[in-house]
């Protein structure tokens, strides 16, 4: 089910909200568990059962780790942890990477003249990358003693399946929401803040991301057809950068908002990433919960930046290759991760990280960072490596004119929203719009909040009702 779909907005969400507000806390948890598995079944069908079984295995393993640690049998606890990691990574590996790996093996076999079983086709269940990381974080946190192993399996089932963020984040750690999990308390203030945050996210998705999407789609299609001109290629790349941000951050705003309305406080996932003054800064503002996860569960365990410069660089390179692979089983994602990792290494090497205080010529650094990110998104969006190369050729080999198919979808509405979106995200400001609306103080904020709820939300809901919904981009990961 998609957050912007009429079924979710006008049937599922009001029923779950109404039920949660009316029921006592223990019954709320059951309602949320049933609703969450229903929500996931809608998008992944029978795979929901695999998630449930795998979560129950995590529950048992978590108890095993906990009891081993209580008995000070660290070796045994480590084996439990390894078993837990193995079952989670095996599921992720099979469903997300088996197809890609089998294709590479098949190609290699062709090269050396060996017959193999051929490519494997496995359907990718939505959200698997997100909840696998959350399940792993639970097991590691139990092993580290950062969180107590759950005695009640409902706690863990609800943590993994909780529908507002189960399929596209934010990536939450159990310790962050353990009190809310045990006793969800949708207070008036929390519900009100959540309602504003949710409506802001919905507007980002429906009013902006979906309006800009046709330009990006047309440009990348033209890139593959070989009809893309330089100007259209840049317009398409900018459109995609904005679409991706408004789509994914809109989803995160909605997830955080729905969570608040249900009595949960999820961590922030974006903080005006296109205002970053370096790539290091960018990764502290873009998909923050993913960066944090890699920092805490990969980078630091590898030694972080405590060792030599060379060891730090190696650790960074590993993290960014994994970040690329996490996004998708394709060479485009691997190269995209390597591209970002490469820039971070360069920034470390030359002292360009600019994250420890005020920077000079911030606007120039902002523009340079944005350009680097924009070029990287082409790899991220392209269907294949050859398609990305074709697109880069169009961007960097000047050709005259403007691709007609891109011109046709660049309607006044799309262009207006493209410019508006550019102004919103590229201009520097301290806080994202969603947080500004919820946390800001003063008459201006109150007026903006009222205008948002009175005009923007009804308009957004009407548009959601008038169109068949489009999926969120990050569902595919």
């Amino acid at each position: 089910m998609v957050f912007s779909s009429p079924t979710f907005l006008f049937v599922f969400l009001p029923l779950v909200l109404g039920g949660t507000w009316l029921l006592p806390p223990p019954a709320r948890r059951i309602l949320l568990l049933v609703a969450s598995f229903g929500f996931y079944t809608w998008g992944a069908q029978t795979f929901a059962a695999v998630v449930a079984v795998s979560t129950m295995a995590d529950w048992l393993i978590g108890l095993g780790i906990s009891s081993a640690m209580a008995a000070e049998r660290t070796r045994r606890a480590r084996w439990f942890l390894i078993a837990g990691l193995a079952q989670n990574l095996a599921l992720l590996g099979w469903f997300k990477y088996a197809g890609f790996a089998s294709i590479q093996a098949s190609r290699l076999g062709d090269l050396v003249g060996l017959d193999g079983p051929g490519p494997v086709s496995v359907l990718l269940p939505i959200g698997i990358s997100f909840f696998t990381f959350e399940k792993i974080s639970y097991l590691v946190d139990v092993r580290r003693g950062d969180v107590a192993a759950r005695r009640n399996p409902i706690d863990l089932l609800l943590f993994v399946s909780l529908f507002p963020r189960s399929i596209a984040g934010p990536i939450v750690r159990l310790r962050e929401i353990q009190d809310d999990l045990t006793r969800p308390q949708p207070t008036v203030d929390l519900v009100t803040s959540g309602a504003i945050r949710f409506s802001h996210g919905l507007a980002k998705k429906i009013l902006i991301a979906d309006s800009i999407a046709p330009i990006a789609d047309a440009a990348f299609a033209a890139g593959q057809a070989g009809t893309l001109t330089t100007e259209a290629a840049w317009v398409g790349a900018i459109a995609y950068a904005l679409q991706l941000y408004f789509d994914f951050s809109g989803y995160s705003d909605m997830a955080i908002g729905i969570g608040m309305m249900l009595g949960f406080r999820f961590p922030e996932n974006f903080n005006r990433p296109y205002s970053s003054v370096s790539m290091t800064d960018f990764w502290r503002r873009w998909h923050m919960t993913l960066s944090r996860w890699f920092r805490d569960y990969v980078f630091i365990p590898l030694g972080g930046s405590r060792g030599s410069e060379r060891a730090t660089s190696r650790n960074l390179a590993i993290v960014f290759l994994l970040t690329g692979i996490w996004h998708g089983a394709d060479w485009t994602f691997i190269l995209w991760g390597a591209y970002h990792g490469g820039w971070l290494l360069l920034e470390r090497r030359f002292g360009w990280r600019a994250v420890d205080g005020p920077v000079r010529r911030a606007w120039l650094r902002r523009a340079a960072t944005l350009l680097i990110v924009l070029i990287g998104w082409v790899l991220f969006r392209a269907e294949s490596l050859p398609a990305a190369i074709d697109y880069y050729q169009a961007m960097f080999t000047p050709t005259g004119g403007f691709t007609p198919s891109v011109g046709e979808v660049a309607t006044p509405k799309a262009i207006t929203l493209l410019i508006l979106a550019s102004l919103v995200v590229f201009l520097p400001r301290g806080r994202s719009g969603g947080r500004f609306l919820v946390e800001g103080k003063g008459r201006f904020v109150v007026t903006a909040r009222a205008a948002h709820l009175a005009f923007v939300l009804p308009l957004t809901l009407a548009l959601a009702m008038a169109s068949s919904s489009s999926p969120f981009l990050y569902f595919q990961f």
Binding site: T7, F10, G18, G43, V188, A195, P404, L453, A466, S468
Partner: protein, 477 residues
Amino acid sequence: MARLLRFVPAVWVFLLLAGPGALWLAGTRQKHVEGKGFAPIPTLTGGSLRDAATYDEIDLAVLDRLPMREHALNLRAHLMMDLFRTSPVTDAKVGDDGWLFLSSEVLSCDGSQVYTDPVAAIDVTMAALKTSGRRGTIALTGSKFLAEQEVAPRVDKAKLECQRSLESRLAAQAASYPEGLNLAPGLAAIKAEKGHTFLKRDTHWTDESRMLYIRSVLNFARRGLADEAGLAFGGYIQRPADLAKTMEVARTDADRTINATQATRPLKPGSVVIVGDSQTGFSLLNPIGSTPMFAGPLVGQAHCEVFSIAAGLCDAIFRASDTIIWQTSLRYAPEFGQRCGRAITTFTEKLSGKRTSLQVNGADVDTLPLRDPVAATIVAPRDERTDVPRLVRVPVRKASPTAAAVSVTATGPDGKPLPCSESTQTVPTDPISVPVPAGMSVGEIALNVPGGQSTEFGRPEVIDLDGRAPRQRTSTR
């Protein structure tokens, strides 16, 4: 009061989300919108619940039935059109000053829409009509994009050029028949004098253009019939605009009715058949606000909807006729070559020609028993390329008792289907008719006959469609 105000955002958001469902529960039902019925509600079984398509079907069924969806569509259309001058649907485009255009009118011109050359198809059709002893003419409704170019939206120049080229070739072909109905000069004069030949928000002609068409049709049916009928403009009406309706907004165009003010000497019943699409419908058959011409000067004459020909629904009226007026819009021109097949079979059923023989793999055969697929060629005596089209008629000697109709694909030297070749019999005992365009020899045709049908074809005959008086033959039926 301040305490109460804290509830307002949450209550407001909940009301907006739960509103449509509450209305539905209260008995409000959405009427059919977008000119279609409701999406069916899928049957829920254990099997269907494991299928992702079921959930998409539920989403569509919910969307269609949501109360207020009609208002949401209307709001979106007004916003898009009034604020952004953009069409909310892909079926229509918005030009300057509120002018609307049908998107599908712009032919792709990449070969995907053109089955056979429509100019060759018109040539074959007119030759068949004339040789059968009938009078015939083609009336072309041009493209609104080309006719109203100064207010038309921007479209791919290459496509527009292709459109222009096709329109001018078709117009030249239509004008090449003596006594033929050539609307182009009249429409050009209206454009020069009145500014437009099409209605602003509709796919159809203005009153002036319609008057030209009606006059031309009546005068082709019988010289001087238009004056005899005393054609005159009636009062002004506000005509519901079909392109605006496509966008879910109610808009009208100022229009005038056209009336026959005098009684006329009746035409011989059934002698004139007018083939056409909705332009003919709105001009002659079902005009808005006035008496149809078919109830006046064309009383007793027949109308054939162009989409009904292939199914054989116009066979009887074609047989009874001696005059055919065939109106086609440019956007349907690519399909002309498919529709004319059945018409030509009917027009030429009383004509006879020279017997020829069939060859399969270079060997003469008397019949083609259809056990296996074959590609047969036709060997005609003194076969050479001629200036006039010809018709190859392949008799069915023994029809399959099981198959409803025989399918044969006739292709030219370029491997493309021939214009007006009837690939599937409409009446199972009928012969298969394969027109040979001017400039092509009979031997260049390949008859691709699928196997597995217990049907036998006899020796074909070749009929010259040279426009000379028909030689009567014994009935082929």
